[in-house]
């Protein structure tokens, strides 16, 4: 009984983390139809930036903010300098982001070296939460809370602000959106910055759990892909729900059948694209 409770909590917190990871990817994919394969590297870069800030003595909150801003800027540069030259060439965009992920990963190795850099859990979250005779890391529940708040904030942004209206219009029909005067160019840059910033934020928030280390990008990217595809392109609700579905599938799957870890992880994605391309909530990706 106890194990099920802990695994459920694990699933929820992993789901929250996955949402923090995937929301940026979903946003960019949904609006710009760019599968940003640099996303994992941006997440990792966010973790490294946060680690550096925390090591310098500042708190996690400031570190997370710094990471989000720094990565948002990087995202903006990527969009302006590179992706912009490849408009109308989706294959080129995917490949360019793939190349950039190599660059970003090697950059992290160059600057921070090969050792994993821990991010210390903020002092207030260090003692485990005691619940029904079990202990559970308080920080993970905090991450869950942060993800729910982020989801709510993003939802409000998309549904209630002007920027959100422009994004929704663009997701629905980019050409029409342009025709009614939405500045596509600026919108794209803004959204890419936002998506990248979310990746950086995710890396910072996930830092105390994963730490910053070389290879983090390669582990995170497939998860983001799986979540977004499962949830459905263009749907933030889909990404949110899918994050938790995958959180459960992964946590319980790996406990019950560890040998099939990768199969369990990727099978939903295969099934979705092959048999229900709209995912749980979204529209078809092709």
């Amino acid at each position: 009984m106890q194990i099920w409770v802990i695994q459920t909590l694990n699933s929820l917190s992993l789901g929250g983390l996955l949402f923090m990871l995937s929301s940026g990817f979903a946003l960019i994919f949904g609006l710009m139809r760019i599968a940003n394969l640099t996303h994992g590297a941006l997440f990792m870069l966010g973790a490294y930036v946060a680690a550096t800030v925390v090591r310098a003595g500042y708190g996690l909150a400031l570190a997370a903010l710094a990471a989000a801003v720094a990565i948002a800027i990087v995202g903006g540069l990527i969009e302006r300098l590179i992706l912009r030259r490849l408009t109308g060439n989706p294959q080129g965009q995917v490949l360019a982001t793939l190349g950039l992920s190599f660059v970003a990963a090697d950059f992290c190795l160059m600057v921070w070296g090969g050792d994993p850099i821990p991010i210390n859990t903020p002092a207030m979250f260090r003692t485990p939460l005691q619940l029904l005779g079990l202990s559970f890391p308080t920080y993970r529940l905090f991450v869950l809370a942060v993800s729910i708040v982020s989801a709510a904030a993003l939802y409000l942004l998309i549904e209630r602000t002007r920027l959100g209206a422009m994004i929704r219009a663009g997701v629905d029909d980019m050409q029409m959106a342009r025709a009614v005067g939405i500045p596509a160019s600026r919108l794209f840059t803004t959204v890419f910055c936002l998506g990248a910033g979310l990746a950086g934020l995710g890396g910072a928030i996930g830092g105390p759990i994963f730490n910053a280390y070389p290879g983090l990008d390669g582990e995170m990217l497939p998860l983001a892909l799986i979540v977004v595809i499962l949830g459905g392109v263009g749907s933030l609700v889909g990404t949110f729900v899918a994050s938790f579905v995958i959180g459960f599938v992964y946590t319980f799957g790996i406990a019950l059948a560890p040998d099939l870890a990768y199969v369990i992880l990727f099978l939903p994605m295969v099934v979705v694209i092959a048999f229900r391309p709209t995912g749980l909530f979204g529209r078809a990706i092709t």
Binding site: L86, V94, I226, Y262, L265, I273, T286
Partner: protein
């Protein structure tokens, strides 16, 4: 084909044939690796360049073929005469199944599906230890001795690879120049029109997928014979990505493109890493550069630039 179009490939083949006679063993071995990469990249090009389907999971076919051959040799003690056709056959069958799944989508969906399928194969390779020996890989493999020809000698292996690679590339070029190849290019450029004309676009693509997986399996055999060792990392995304880079860099939609691209990537990887510590970053930059400035690849890109200098470009 124009009258003497067979001349340049023949010249190239002859140059390569005499190459081992004046190059050191290291370069001969490097050449063998280039040939393996060339076959692999060419097989991927059938999908990317001629069918217009970008795949990020091609390494799974290379790996499956290599593993099947290795497994049958090590665990069942079978000789190469059996393991080679078995590996090719089984991998192609898996290619048929994967193709059926992956072609439920096109474009980005297809890319994701190939990626997912390849990750599943990769994960199974690592975790199903009783089958694949997991992270230790399968070692103790041998090279075949076709008609008593000792392929353990580097020069011999180079010539063997050259023959296999030459034959494969030739067959692939006949394939794309055939009427089927023309319809394949049609589905790449104008799928709806082709469909309207009564072509079964899905079936055409599926056939291309299967043929491409077959040639990837051939590359897999060349690979495992060369290394005499197989490890699950051969089925990772980076291997697929490198092949994709070779195709894009050299020029998709041409026969020579992937060959040149494979040469570039293999040489750069081996060479650059000896002299430049940040060669991964260099690889990434080269990737981005080629995608932006030479989107059709180096071969057409160079042609385009040299056109500015020459007045007599046809």
């Amino acid at each position: 084909m124009t009258q003497r179009a067979w001349l340049p490939p023949l010249v190239l083949l002859l140059c390569l044939a005499v190459f081992p006679l004046f190059a050191g063993e290291y370069f001969v071995n490097l050449g063998s690796q280039v040939l393996v990469a060339a076959v692999f990249a060419s097989s991927l090009n059938l999908l990317v360049g001629y069918a217009g389907l970008t795949s990020l999971g091609h390494a799974s076919f290379l790996g499956l073929s290599a593993y099947i051959s290795a497994w049958l040799a090590v665990r069942m003690g079978l000789g190469h005469a059996v393991t080679a056709p078995a590996a090719l056959l089984l991998t192609t069958l898996i290619g048929m199944a994967f193709g059926w799944i992956a072609l439920r989508a096109t474009g980005l969906g297809f890319l994701m599906l190939t990626l997912a399928l390849s990750q599943i194969v990769w994960g199974v390779g690592f975790r199903w230890v009783s089958l694949t020996n997991g992270d230790n890989g399968l070692s103790g493999l041998t090279r075949p001795q076709p008609f008593g020809w000792n392929l353990e000698i580097s020069n011999n292996y180079f010539w063997f690879s050259l023959i296999v690679a030459g034959l494969s590339v030739f067959l692939m070029s006949r394939f794309v120049d055939s009427p089927f190849g023309a319809s394949l290019r049609g589905t790449r450029d104008q799928p709806r029109r082709m469909s309207a004309l009564g072509f079964n676009v899905w079936a055409i693509r599926w056939v291309a997928f299967v043929v491409s997986s077959f040639f990837a399996a051939v590359a897999g055999l060349l690979y495992v014979y060369f290394h005499k060792y197989i490890h699950p990392s051969v089925m990772s995304i980076s291997v697929s990505a490198e092949a994709l880079l070779s195709v894009i860099a050299g020029g998709s939609g041409t026969i020579a493109g992937p060959l040149l691209g494979a040469l570039l990537v293999v040489v750069m990887k081996n060479y650059a890493s000896a002299y430049i510590e940040r060669w991964n970053m260099l690889l990434g930059f080269v990737f981005v550069f080629i995608v932006i400035f030479m989107p059709n690849g180096v071969v057409p890109g160079l042609r385009h630039w040299t056109r500015h200098w020459r007045k007599d470009s046809p």
